[in-house]
Symmetry: C2
Subunit: 447 residues, 2 copies
Amino acid sequence: MLPSDNKSAVQLVVHPAWILPIIPRGEVLSEHSLVVQQGRIAALLPTPEAEQIEAEQHVHLPSQVLMPGLVNAHGHSAMSLLRGVADDAPLLSWLQDHIWPLEAHFVSEEFVADGTDLALAELLLGGTTTLSDMYFFPEVTAQRIQSAGMRAQLVFPIIDVETAWARDSDSCLEKGLALRDDYRDDDLVDVGFGLHATYSVSEATLRKVSTLTNELDAPMQIHLHETRGEVQSAVEATGERPVALLDRLGLLGPRSQCVHMTSLSSEDIQRLVDNNSHVVHCPRSNMKLASGICPVHRLHQAGVNVALGTDGAASNNRLSMLAELQSAALLAKLEQHEATALPAGSALEMATLGGARALGLEDKVGSLEVGKLADMIALDLSGVNTQPLSNIMSQLVYATTGSELTHSWIAGRCLVNEGRLTTLDLNTITARAGRWPEKFRAHQANH
Amino acid sequence: MLPSDNKSAVQLVVHPAWILPIIPRGEVLSEHSLVVQQGRIAALLPTPEAEQIEAEQHVHLPSQVLMPGLVNAHGHSAMSLLRGVADDAPLLSWLQDHIWPLEAHFVSEEFVADGTDLALAELLLGGTTTLSDMYFFPEVTAQRIQSAGMRAQLVFPIIDVETAWARDSDSCLEKGLALRDDYRDDDLVDVGFGLHATYSVSEATLRKVSTLTNELDAPMQIHLHETRGEVQSAVEATGERPVALLDRLGLLGPRSQCVHMTSLSSEDIQRLVDNNSHVVHCPRSNMKLASGICPVHRLHQAGVNVALGTDGAASNNRLSMLAELQSAALLAKLEQHEATALPAGSALEMATLGGARALGLEDKVGSLEVGKLADMIALDLSGVNTQPLSNIMSQLVYATTGSELTHSWIAGRCLVNEGRLTTLDLNTITARAGRWPEKFRAHQANH
């Protein structure tokens, strides 16, 4: 029943075949419906009762499971334009001979607008409702995200070297703080600090960011312990592991999001536990770039929150959170030599509430609970690949292609309706993105 | 130009956006078309010329790449009914407490018919045109495959323990040889020997099979070195590694297909090289069951042919060769700590010609070359996930969802047309498969 003193019109009632709320853990409801009022989840109740509610819209989804929208906790959206540009190259060459030269030449507001739109389209159609983004011209990214109506954490890049966007780290900070100020009252977009890595930012800048993030209680995300090589180099140069450096400088806290983390000692993990810091796991990127495997099982055993991220499309090459959680579930079993590692429920939680926790949004999204915002997706399980329907959570994790999405809502606003984007124009997006490969080829031919 | 003395009607001319023939390696043709006559590839030629040809059918595929049909070199189709039945359990418990009891109780001709149909539907829609199958009641599987019109190698199971299908290994051999005789003149279905494993079949039976396969020049497939534990147990019990046992008994030859092979020494690999034997790599199954990683890069370096397989849907849980080759390409890089390992072209070759070689079909299928049979698929690359189209082979391997297929032909016969199966009825298949989970649950509740 709805609160009797609530006079607001009911915005939406959804009647799916199943509801996977994520909390309570392991629960799959059938013959239940979900009520949305003022962008929030007002009730989950038996369908016969829900059918009686007067609402602006009743949506029937007879072969779909309704679940929280997926949270992509690490990405570089604009890099979608670089998808497939130089695959299968050795890592250093890929970066130094291909990616960085192209970025140096082409990254601009136009590049970021086109690339971000393409990424947002793919993410939305794949079930992502909240994303974290770390890339140049974040003010453009923010505007595209607003235009699409998605929820996001923008961690503006902080890096010492000069880029098309900023002269140096101080310039990054200046622009980033201005952006944070612009979006301080925004419901959907959060702005935080995106430290590139400990090897690309001076200690002086790290200290500045530490002061700022603590003063402002702002989120901070950083590529950390991405490879064993990174850790070894740091120890050889300074005697200190990167995560220890962050800890010493006060940069490990409950709002810190450490991305990749493939090379971890027990002490490293303890630092995360002691500081309530988060890990963002990017399994497909780590595989594609041969970076290593993040020990998710060990982190979970220690009580560390782990989220999931696609990283950029040039090192995945999909921007699909369903593919990401599928890969995570498979890889964790291999890493642990244990078929019980990262079971389906845990993988689904990582991709929803785990991401929400990492981004500081766990009170707002990540599960279908009364009072939370109605960020949710509907996935159609009638396809041949998910038959027979023995176990909804299993099918979602191990049998999906990533193409199952039919509907997506953010705060009750429908962004994908019957498989079609409502706020983005795919034709325009594809056409705009399609102009770039030729520019890249022309440039690469001349250099 | 077509051979001037060839008076047969041209069956089909396909005009795709690109042709990926697999051979020559690395070639992607644009503005070319493919001509089919009497089920064979008669020509690949520039599209303007091809448009002039008088043919029964011209098919225009403006956003598709045409490539050889994918070859699923290892599976247990009927196990699709067990998809999601007991995921995330420890391996032994999964087998002993769930899978084997259910199989013992439920495997029947009806089970195999329903499960095989479901698997064939998913495989066809995902781009597979040739499959290898190892399961009980292979005569039912063969009939379902014929009904679907697919190409297949049926390796009838040979296992000592009693099953619903056969009393013991001798009974397996008797029934299997009869099946082989039934299909000796069949164009699409090949019957070979499916040894379960060296730990489930006596040496006496292995010797019988060795004699038979050598006499008959028949294909043989076996689960081999699936885990380190399997190898260790064999060495502890007999002092001999399983692959060495096979070698000693004359079971390693150019028609031997060794499935899984995650635990390999240099000597093991040398045996494969010396005998021209094949490996069938099942990356997703190996991950899900925490079996280990097959060292594909090392095998390729040594010159061993490696094919790809989905294994059964209960340990994947997809039956998608695109997902399998994507996983293989990602996993190989991790395994080798090298971002250059198993590049896109190699992964695509493994899934086509590599599979054809393993199954002894390399003269017939696996590449789009004049004279070969027209087993081919069209994959639509206009979706947002494969944009922008920088590199066709990269996008195919790293960016596909597995849902890109629009058309599939086997020997020029269209089995999937504009995304729809032409020989299988999805509604019936789904309905029949959908009856089984309840039966399983009822049984599990009472045991």
